[in-house]
Amino acid sequence: MKIVVLVKEVPDTYGDRKLDLETGLAQRAASERVIDEIGERALEVALSHADANAGTEVVVLSMAPEEAQASVRKALAMGAASAVQVVDPALAGADLGVTAKVLAAAVQRAGFDLVITGNLSTDGSGGVIPAMIAERLGVPQATALSAVTITDTTVSGTRATDAGTAQVSAPLPAVISITEALPDARFPNFKGIMAAKKKPLEVVTLADLGIDVDPASAPQTILTAVGAKPPRGAGVKITDEGDAGEQLAAFLIENRLA
């Protein structure tokens, strides 16, 4: 069984994240870059399946600039067998349509029984890539799974939406996305870090994938304006001396909030 896990490099959410007001792109220098936490959890789902099932091959795939290689290596250090990184200057500022096209082509090229992604990235918050890739690959998708069972021929799990909770299943090959209800990922250990240096990390370009991102070839989404909101300041702060509840009630009533 071959599982391809999609990981995205994002600005660390623990720091201040900034958009370039000229280009609308993330300011790479403004924050640390890390593998999105949900991508690590997706990798954990694949690795724990591999731990229990000999003959499982886990490949990580990321579309990111060259500088992101350290993040891809980290995924290898955690335990993936090999990695594919799609790097191409033409992909700077790629929209969702281009991203999905590229990732689907790279998944197809790697070969797969199952693709595992995060449900939602912390920078784009799109949550659409898994379904877009599934459509391009012509396979079923089951998104937002909070529990996953993988067999040789199927993937099934629990999918919680606003409307309720469903048990869903799909024959392989398929695409799934997982939620943060699934366990946090393992840390790479020393042995893993050493081993990662020797694991294959293939860098592929758009030409290797045979993909055209010419804006004339298909519609794309572009940013037409970006703005920063002034940061919010602090107001009144009091220490409770026995009547803070009453003071707060008065504040809420005065401001017509109660």
Binding site: T13, K18, L19, L96, G97, A100, T122, D123, G124, G126, G127, V128, I129, A131, M132, I133, E135, R136, G138, P140, Q141, A142, T143, A144, S146, A160, D162, A163, G164, T165, A166, Q167, V168, A170, A181, P215, P219, T221, I222, L223, A225, V226, G227, K229, G233, A234, G235, V236, K237, I238, D240, A244, G245, E246, L248, L252, I253, N255, L257, A258
Partner: protein, 328 residues
Amino acid sequence: MTFAADSVLVLLDVTPAGELASSSAGLLGAAAQIGTPVALVVAGDHALPTLAAAAGSLGAAAVLTAGLNGADTQLTVPLVDALTAAAQLVEPDAVLVSNSIEGRDVAGRFAARTDAALAVDAVGVARDEEGVLAHHSVYGGAFTATSAPTFGPLVVTVRQGAVDARAEAVAAPEVTALTVTPSGAAAASIESFDAAVVESSRPELRGAPKVVAGGRGLGSLEKFVLVEQLADALGAAVGASRAAVDAGYIPYAHQVGQTGVSVSPQLYVALGISGAIQHKAGMQTAKTIVAINKDGDAPIFDIADFGIVGDVFQVVPQLIAALEAKKA
């Protein structure tokens, strides 16, 4: 059947109870701001006439109806097939879908299938000389961004509860039964389904004018009731931090923040929440923020309009009593 040149196609979510989802009013309200709203509803045949009338009352000038065609047993694909047929018929300037889990999947597959430009998690839509625009709130509201298609219709997923505009009711919308040819695309099957228990009379978190949220500081499932009591005293919705959700005090649907729901209420009350950056990302655009925390250095105080350094178990019962005394 012909459709207005400025038609905006809107896919309305239908709840398991067979009603239009609460996102519908905002979606049709947004559509009316940029063109003529044409709604698509997919449901069991018997429910379609009522749903079509409901869509009209929320502002749909025309309604396309389609039967389930497997939408109750298969994920996403039957809805994408219906949306594709509707878009071919209507040739809209934009397609609006709810940014719900199901809506995102449908929008993603539809955009990939039709090679259309896609804008996600919009907090509003607009139109200029060149066409339809989507407005976004990025990095927890620290930035705003506007996106547009290079050409063709824009497919937009609209954040639930973000659009306040409402369309004028249409008494007799034109209703057309849509012919859908199944694509035969492989789909995942729905094997069983448990509908979410619709919660009491408390407002829904998304779009609620007031939210009272609790964090790990509440200490236990039993003591989390304090959050609900204050919410009820204020007529507010209940939110939570990820730590409170992880600890099992409350289901994930109530999580506010980076990987939960984003809210922009008039009033946000944070009880026993430290104010981690990922939590702030989901609530810092609230109009008024109130925080109660034992730790005077908690980062939530940096953005609170009214902060109380104190114990929630002392302050909140007194607050509730004072609010009730005022009402009486």
